[in-house]
């Protein structure tokens, strides 16, 4: 996955709210810190953000409210004009695109799902899903055929004639998802899509989302304030605090090597067995004695825990080539499961 090309990148993006933000930023020799920004009467919503989203990955931006994650995703889609920086989409700078070019890019290459669904109340499910195509001027029969296809894909077949207010929250968000997919976007923004839903529905929608992604292989920027959700969905996670991106890594690396105490605080309470791979907790080197069997190094501990715990003897760990790289015993699995630090 590491070798996949970069689809969307932002380089040193700033967004300061307030009067005279551009002048202030241009006048600084070095990057200003939070105190300087506040002293100038500005709000530093995004500060020197650098991220790269690769083709086909789920890139999650995680942060608490006020961390600037929503502002950043709006900078990426240019819903908000950044104060400084570059947004590179397929190697062209979005910030230099004219309004007309932006309209074309948004019509054909971007899709977005909103926290509160943002469905048009006066249109039916079918009309809502077909709306992005209608705006482009696609003929009625074509766009409705396409809309029906996606409505079936998200599991809402039979509800085409319903109005948004007649649907449950989860169903409404399915409409939102279907609508954002109608134009077959190359990059898919999801702004806290499941935050407004009940916990049970949220889980169901996460599964649904993973199912869709396994079929569609979109490049995804997913915003959330829920670390569990981030862990569950992400290929890579960017953690934001006070407008700055403080770490970008895979869920496993975040747990194993948090950049600072703030990140460590998030990772402390998550079930490690779901995140860590066998490779991260195994005893390196060939197993000393008899083994009960083999497990793959890339597997999550959660997946092999039952098997290892039931057997009396350790398991040999093999990598992708089939070579034995270490051993995994019952003790290491239990340590991971109950979250005990290695002594």
């Amino acid at each position: 996955m590491q070798e996949k090309p970069v689809k969307l990148a932002c380089r040193d993006v700033w967004k300061l709210f307030g009067e005279g933000a551009e002048r202030f930023l241009a006048a600084q020799a070095t990057a200003p810190g939070l105190p300087e920004i506040q002293a100038a009467g500005l709000v530093g919503a995004v500060r020197a953000a650098n991220i790269e989203v690769r083709q086909g990955e789920i890139f999650v931006i995680m942060g608490l409210s006020g961390s600037g994650k929503s502002t950043l995703v709006r900078c990426l889609s240019r819903l908000i004009e950044p104060t400084a920086g570059e947004i590179l989409f397929e190697d062209t700078d979005l910030l230099r695109a004219s309004e007309r070019e932006m309209i074309q890019i948004r019509r054909h290459k971007m899709g977005m799902v909103f926290q509160h669904f943002a469905l048009l109340p006066h249109l039916t499910v079918l009309q809502n899903v077909a709306f992005p195509l209608e705006v482009q001027g696609v003929a009625r029969t074509t766009r409705e055929a396409r809309a029906l296809e996606i409505i079936e894909l998200v599991g809402l077949k039979g509800r085409e004639a319903y109005y948004p207010r007649e649907l449950s929250g989860g169903q409404q968000q399915r409409v939102g998802i279907a609508r954002s997919l109608a134009v077959e976007p190359e990059i898919w923004f999801l702004d806290e899509p499941f935050s407004a839903l009940d916990p049970l529905i949220r889980r169901e929608m996460q599964d649904e989302f993973l199912r869709l992604q396994s079929m569609l292989q979109k490049t995804i920027v997913f915003i959330t304030h829920d670390f569990d959700e981030a862990i569950r969905l992400a290929d890579r996670i960017a953690i934001m605090k006070d407008g700055a991106v403080i770490q970008v890594d895979t869920p496993e690396q975040l747990v194993l090597a948090p950049a600072d105490d703030y990140v460590a605080e998030f990772t402390r309470h998550i079930p490690r067995a779901k995140v860590l791979s066998v490779r991260a907790v195994m005893q390196p080197g060939p197993p000393g004695g008899e083994v009960a069997g083999q497990v793959a190094a890339g597997d999550r501990i959660e997946a092999v825990a039952d098997q290892v715990e039931a057997a009396g003897k350790p398991f040999a760990v093999v990598d992708e080539t089939g070579a034995v790289v270490g051993s995994l015993d019952r003790r290491a699995v239990i340590d991971t499961l109950i979250g005990r630090e290695k002594g």
């Binding site: 889609s77 819903l79 948004r106 971007m110 006066h122 209608e134 482009q136 109005y163």
Partner: protein, 681 residues
Amino acid sequence: MAEPALDTTAPKPKALPVSPAALTWLLLGLATFVLAHTSRDLSKALDARWLVKVPRELRISMKTDISAFMSWLVEDAHFGLFSFTDLTRGIAWLLEQPYDLAKAVLVSGFVQGLGNEAVQWLPPLSWIAVVFVVAAIGHYAKSIGLAVFVGLCFLYLAVFGQWDSAMVTLASILIAVPLGVGGGLLLGIGGYRWRWFDRVLTPVLDLMQTVPIFAYLVPILFLFGFGPVSALVATVIYAMPPMVRITTLALRGVPSEIREFGTMVGCTGRQMTWRVLVPSAMPGLMVGVNQVIMLSLNMVIIASMIGAGGLGYDVLTSLRRLDIGGGLEAGVAIVVLAIALDRLSQAFVNRPPPEHGETAPSFAKRHPYTLATLAVILATGLLGLVLPVLQSYPATAQITTGAFWENLVQTINVNYFDQLEAVKTFMVLNLLVPVKRFLVGVPWPWFILLVTLAGWQLGRWKLALLCFLLSGFILVNGLWTDAMETIYLCGVSVLIAAVMGIPLGVVAAQNQKAGRFIGGFIDTLQTLPSFVYLIPVVMLFRVGDFSAMIAVVLYALAPAVRYTAHGIRSIDPQLIEAGTVSGCTRWQLLWRIKLPLALPEIMLGINQTIMLALSMLVITALVGTRDLGQEVYIALTKADTGRGIVAGVSVAFIAIIADRLIAAGARRARARLGLAAEGGR
């Protein structure tokens, strides 16, 4: 003019039992009182007549200038290709076409030829068809109940012989409402999209809503002449501002995510406005439509003075002839029409959004209302040619209630004359006259000083300057005494309205059953065109300040009640629970917790009451007051544009001063109570 109200906005006392600001105002009030009663003697003693009479040197001839300008506009102004008069004639012609059509459909039928040779080749809609159409609309908008209700309302108009006049009024409304809604929508969208446009628009709208209605009529009369077109222009101008405001507000109220969604799917500016924002804001916009309908009705009635005809004209002529029965009959017809139109448009506002359903296959099933209505129109039209009863309601079956009302009023006047007269005399002697004497007695420099000082205290130099300039405008135009008369009548009316309205609001907020009853009563009061209030008052108390005052109180009562109730209802329930837990009695709860917390809201209610009172005051000029309203009314009858505009603007300036002072006071009170600073105007 409102020293006691200002006291309450002063900062809280710290060590002193009375805060310095409050003390200052107390002393100033006392000084004013003394001055008011000694100014005449004082001016004699000091040989300073300018104290009581505004010196001639201070006056300017603004009204003659305006009149001269208007004459120039009408007679000489030229835009190269066409003159100004051509322009107004063009507009008049454009408006006349749809109006004539609506009138032909509803009243006169399609006629060919002129005068006696006129031949009607297509009759107007029969009364049955009209009743059926409104009933169908009622059913479509809400329920069979509403259909029956509005059907009966229109049937009333036919049975009681008000049909033709009512249809003339309805024709004007049918033209004015789409124009007002459409124009308001466009201006509102402009205000939403361009900041600078909004900045220009807001003060214009403020002024338009505070300038009294009659003042509009004068220049319009001058430009468009006497007739229904003038009335239409005045109606549209009058009814449009709320639509503009509501449009801008409703569009701003669209969730930002919906706007972002529009951008993300690549909407152009036009697609964004018409496909995303306007449909999403529809429920809010419908409230504006209801407002436009009700204001149009109000104005069409008043505009009968410049030739609108219809029910308003009937009331006006009856009032002039002192024909009690006729006036009341037409007045009741206006009320019936107003209630029917209000219920209908309210039903559209509250109409539940559509339910999903299979689209019906056939045209007939998809458009049942349109088809049924067309069928009835055709059937009654054709049958009407044979059976005239079906075409127009037979005069023999009409019921006239004129005599009944006449007798009723006469009975009341004969049997209760002494009681009525006693009440009137008591009020006049003990309230009206002293207040009037006091206000007229206050020397003008002192009054301007007080107003400016109040402005300074509540809003520093900006507000102080505004107060000074606006009151100065009234002074230099030689309208000082008229303005004092206006303030006196308005002040007394608002005082009474507040004394009645605030307790009603408190009751409405605390008791659900009473709340529903009072709410219904207030709603009905507000649907009635302002003209209607004059009728019963004049019947019982004849002309004069007292009648004017009662009409004003009735008209202006609603906001005092509504805002008080709303203020009390929106108090955080936890605060009331905290009071209850601390062992407050119900009275203590009311006086210590509810009223203080609702104070900012109540102040805004009083503010609205003042605005309504000022606008009604001008209409009460018809029953012989002697204030600025009379000045406007005289200007209207003489078509003296300058005089009318100057007096009208003076009323608006009084309104603006009161509005800014009270709004600033309410903001302070809010800030002191730590409530969110949103203005519920």
